[in-house]
């Protein structure tokens, strides 16, 4: 018995296809696309409260495409994707956001940006002190606040 999925198989296929249209794989930057199986698994597993709006966006996508998005030729797929983006609205914005938020936390993608794949806590980051002599001209100013 397969694990529960909040999306139908057809919706999952369309989600994978539209995610790949939003962020395709790149050999130049050595990164997967958002249609990568691990990223797709993360998206589906963490839909949570966004499930309703994502389903709504995928239903709208299915209507625009008229058939499974993955089955369309590349030019038609791109045209449908652009049409969906232009249509906008809360559902499309949510679909786009869940794709982006899972893509940009994938270890391979984070590393490709020169960042460490880890949460901020507990290691934190180093912040350089900066040149405090920049304040010298400001220190020389007279008081600016009004006495009342």
């Amino acid at each position: 018995m397969s694990a529960y999925s909040p999306l139908t198989p057809a919706q999952r296929d369309d989600l994978r296809a539209i995610a790949g249209a939003i962020i395709p794989a790149s050999m130049e930057f050595d990164v997967p696309g958002a249609d990568d199986p691990a990223i797709q698994a993360d998206i589906v597993a963490t839909l949570g409260r966004d499930t309703g709006l994502v389903r709504e966006a995928l239903d709208g996508l299915a209507r625009l495409a008229g058939s499974p998005l993955a089955g369309l030729d590349p030019a038609r797929r791109e045209a449908v994707a652009l049409e969906l983006r232009a249509k906008g609205g809360a559902a499309v914005a949510t679909l786009t956001r869940v794709v982006l938020q899972c893509y940009y936390r994938d270890d391979r993608v984070v590393r490709s940006l020169g960042l460490e794949p880890r949460p901020p806590y507990p290691k934190g980051h180093v912040l350089e002190d900066g040149d405090w002599s920049l304040l010298d001209p400001v220190r020389a100013r007279p008081p600016m606040w009004r006495r009342a």
Partner: protein, 532 residues
């Protein structure tokens, strides 16, 4: 049956914690009821790989999106600025940027100086000892010597300038405009049991390090050691009154949803500018048919937000991005009134350091800077880690049509009527925002930033909830008197942002807490004749 208490405080946030701590030395029986729970830093967003995504879910600043059991819904459909808050021990201080300026002396004299709104019944000098006490309790980092504000001595050194701060400082120097490292409640050294900042960077949705001061880790431990009782998951429905028109106590729902009554000699409201008028309006009775403490008709009116005009762009050099506290610098260049600008009053510029990759991707995609398809990766690498931005925190003047009322339909999980917000940005403020945008663009141009973006107002920017139960000497023009006591109900006090007569142009938490400490001090001085 609950034993009666001497003082009952409603709300454990910025002001409730301060007033509880201050009153504790009276040895009275003090109880605080809080609708939320204690926070658990081990579960804060910055501890997990989904740290950015949670800002769109259970750590959204909007209670309507967050929708935790302890949140109440707010109908803010009729407002271009949505209310944001946090419900739990610590209140909004759990989820604020920790930017900690004070109102200026001129902010308390707007009618006298600029001919608008009304003067406050207290002045800056009166509040100075309480600002200083609050700075010690919260733990403020900053740098003395700022010509833009009255003298003060923050107990900790400022946050580092970092790359972003240095870029912005150079731009401001090129223009000859004022800037200064911000006062913040981020601990830059180990302070009173709190560990110093290690630059988690994700400060606003709660600090897992405990470096950012929230009252659950500052005032509350001290107040509880001094004997104050704090009950969580207790949502107050109404304040009841007796035959003499005095507050008798409150009806609340406990953690199990059971209705309880708590009697009290004194009731202190600390629910801020939406929660406090909501509770007063929900406490209408035969004796107070228009809501409690509302003979002036001003409960809920004069809501002020501080509309934020946010402007940002992208520079060639790498910025600090999300790898440092977002609080950075402030500028008071346009704070005091200059009528040649086309408006009165003014604003603070609050400078930021940048955002994380998910926030950058989502915002840039929405702005049309980040394409879908083949150009996505190159565009993202040009944007991510290169953002530089600032916001004008614009003074909002009190206007009675901007108000909190009770929604006729919407209710919270206990069936209590929810607040409804009706708000529009005033003409003076709108001109101020345009000025702020134009001058922010000049700053970003001086920093050689491109691809300039504007969010004005910031949609989910209703952090500062002010003015809805204001203080004053005239009972016809104010809800409470000069020291926070209701004109109508002599044992009812208000200590939160509702008190503000005008908003100033700064983040208000420092002034809210100073006012709470001032009112507590006034109460202690008048204990023998508090109700006269």
């Amino acid at each position: 049956m609950n034993d009666p208490v001497d003082v009952l405080i409603i709300g454990a946030g910025a002001s409730g914690a301060a007033v509880a701590w201050s009153l504790a030395d009276t040895r009275m029986h003090i109880l605080c009821l809080e609708q939320g729970d204690w926070m658990n830093p081990a579960t804060y967003p910055s501890t997990g790989r989904d740290w950015e995504a949670r800002a769109f879910g259970d750590y959204s600043p909007s209670p309507n999106i967050r929708a935790r059991p302890e949140d109440y819904p707010i109908n803010d459909d009729n407002s271009p600025i949505k209310v944001v808050n946090f419900n739990g021990v610590g209140g909004g201080t759990v989820m604020y940027t920790a930017h900690f300026p004070r109102l200026h002396p001129s902010d308390f004299r707007v009618k006298s100086l600029d001919g608008v709104a009304e003067d406050w019944p207290v002045d800056y000098d009166t509040l100075v000892p309480f600002f200083e006490e609050n700075d010690r309790m919260m733990g403020v980092s900053g740098l003395a010597g700022d010509p833009g504000v009255p003298p003060r001595n923050p107990p900790m050194p400022p946050l580092p300038l970092g790359r972003s701060g240095a870029m912005l400082a150079k731009a401001m120097n090129r223009l000859g405009w004022h800037w200064w490292p911000s006062d913040t409640t981020v601990a830059t050294v180990d302070y009173e049991g709190r560990a110093r900042c290690i630059n988690l960077g994700h400060c606003t949705p709660a600090c897992a390090q405990g470096a950012k001061a929230s009252t659950d880790i500052t005032y509350w431990p001290a107040a509880r050691r001094a004997g104050v009782e704090l009950r969580t998951h207790c949502r107050v429905r109404e304040i009841t009154t007796n035959a003499h028109g005095m507050a008798a106590g409150v009806v609340y729902y406990d953690a199990d949803g059971r209705e309880q009554f708590q009697a009290a000699e004194v009731v202190v409201l600390a629910c801020n500018g939406v929660g406090t008028p909501r509770l007063l309006l929900n406490s209408a009775s035969g004796h107070f048919p228009n809501g409690l403490a509302n003979s002036s008709g001003l409960v809920g009116k004069n809501l002020m937000f501080h509309p934020y005009a946010q402007v940002y762009g992208y520079v060639a050099e790498e910025t600090d991005s999300n790898r440092a506290p977002p609080t950075c610098l402030w500028s008071k260049e346009f704070y005091e009134t200059d009528r040649s600008r086309g408006f009165v009053r003014g604003y603070t510029f609050q400078f930021g350091r940048g955002v994380g990759p998910v926030a950058e991707a989502v915002a840039s995609e929405a702005k049309g800077l980040l394409p879908w398809g083949a150009g996505h990766h190159a565009a993202f690498r040009r944007l991510n880690g290169h953002r530089l931005g600032l916001s004008a925190i614009c003074e909002d003047l009190p206007e009675e049509h901007n108000r909190v009322t009770l929604d006729p339909v919407m209710k919270d999980s206990h069936g209590i009527p929810a607040p409804r917000i009706d708000y529009r940005i005033g003409e003076n403020t709108a001109r101020m925002m345009e000025h702020g945008i134009a001058h922010a663009k000049k700053i970003l141009a001086a920093a050689e930033a491109t691809d300039i973006c504007v969010n004005s107002p910031i949609l989910y920017g209703g952090w500062h909830l002010l003015g809805t139960a204001r203080m004053g000497a005239d009972p016809a023009r104010s809800v409470v008197n000069e020291w926070g006591r209701s004109h109508d109900v002599k044992n009812l006090f208000i200590v939160d942002g509702s008190l503000f007569v005008t908003s100033g142009g700064v983040n208000p938490t420092s002034t809210i807490q100073a006012l709470a400490l001032y009112i507590a001090d006034q109460m202690k001085q008048r204990l023998a004749n508090l109700f006269d």
